[in-house]
């Protein structure tokens, strides 16, 4: 009897938890075909660069190896910080220097802006240290 009740309780808990857990996987899904279509032109350019033994853009243009399709592309320089395929924002999140990473993303790594973000970071750290100092002083005060 006890086992039966326990079993029913367990099942009902599992059933009630189901809606909470459902859909979690959906957040990780994306339309791969759509992404591949979006990057089709860059993928073709990537193949062309590989076929030409990693020639630079300048060399390819000089040797007329760049088709008209690519010549008209609005090709910018990638932010080196994103080279790992991991956004700067993530690093900032993990390391807590939010101001710096926002600047990296928003200003395209503008030197002056980054400098001021570092200054902001230092100020933030000082404030945080101050907060903990006060926090521990209050605790110590209460203990003593």
């Amino acid at each position: 009897m006890k086992i039966k009740v326990l079993l029913i309780a367990l099942i009902s808990v599992l059933v009630s938890l189901q809606p909470l857990m459902a859909g979690e996987a959906d957040d990780f899904k994306f339309d791969r075909q759509q992404v591949q279509d979006e990057f089709a032109d860059l993928s073709r350019l990537e193949q062309t660069v590989e076929q030409n033994n990693f020639m630079s853009l300048f060399e390819m243009k000089n040797n007329n190896l760049l088709g008209a399709e690519f010549a008209s592309m609005n090709l910018g320089t990638m932010m080196p910080e994103a080279a790992l395929g991991i956004p700067g924002f993530w690093w900032g999140c993990v390391l807590g220097i939010v101001g710096i990473l926002v600047v990296y993303l928003v200003t395209d790594n503008d030197r002056d802006e980054v400098k001021s973000a570092f200054t902001g970071c230092i100020v933030g750290t000082v404030l945080q240290v101050g907060f903990y100092l006060i926090y521990y002083l209050v605790i110590l005060d209460n203990v003593l």
Binding site: F28, E38, E46, L75, T77, A83, G85, C93
Partner: protein, 229 residues
Amino acid sequence: MRRILFLFFLSCIFTLHSVAQRDAYYRIRADFSVKEKHTDGKSSLTMGQVYYDKARKKIVYNVKFPDKEIWLFHDTVMYRIKDNVPEKKAVIPGYIDFSVFNLALNNNLKDYGLKNSMYELKNVTRDEDMVISLWSPKKEYAKLIGDIKISVKENRLYGVLIYDAAKKMIGKQIFTEYIKIGGFEFPAEIVNFSYTAEGQEIHQITTYKNVKVNNWDENSFYNYPVPAL
């Protein structure tokens, strides 16, 4: 007593095995390409080779396209060397430790290195074919940064969702393909979606090919000299 000795012996073997596994792979090189598209129409393609030796702690990009240049990441500095002229830039501390190269070589990719970070594991659920873990920032950081969700599929890191403190998703990273070299696995393709505060989206595909581990052929790149500036 015998049983205790046996268990001790067994745990020693497991520990030694995991240490050996972790130290078996110490350097990696790959052909890389990063394709990036912004919603404002800007796009970029960057290609070349990348080198990393975990003992040297230097990430060296031998960029070939669009321009020939070297990007050297060392400590908290990035050196961009073009036509033998170095340029110095500051990078976020921890950039190397949390890089995909360092995490993979140290066998920490599965939890994205969060185990030893300012995040703590809050919840683990299973949905469809994924094991999803929720990581929340430690109390003192909760006002600044948001949660991170990690999904593991077929015992490999599959996806990372990054939220801001207001629980808005700001980044999504999907590890779509892996390359297996012996017992070592490395992402072959990473699809990344970043959502900026201005509502702009940046889509990025990073591809790694011709991955070699413990390779000595291009030794000079792994310990690329730091320019004196």
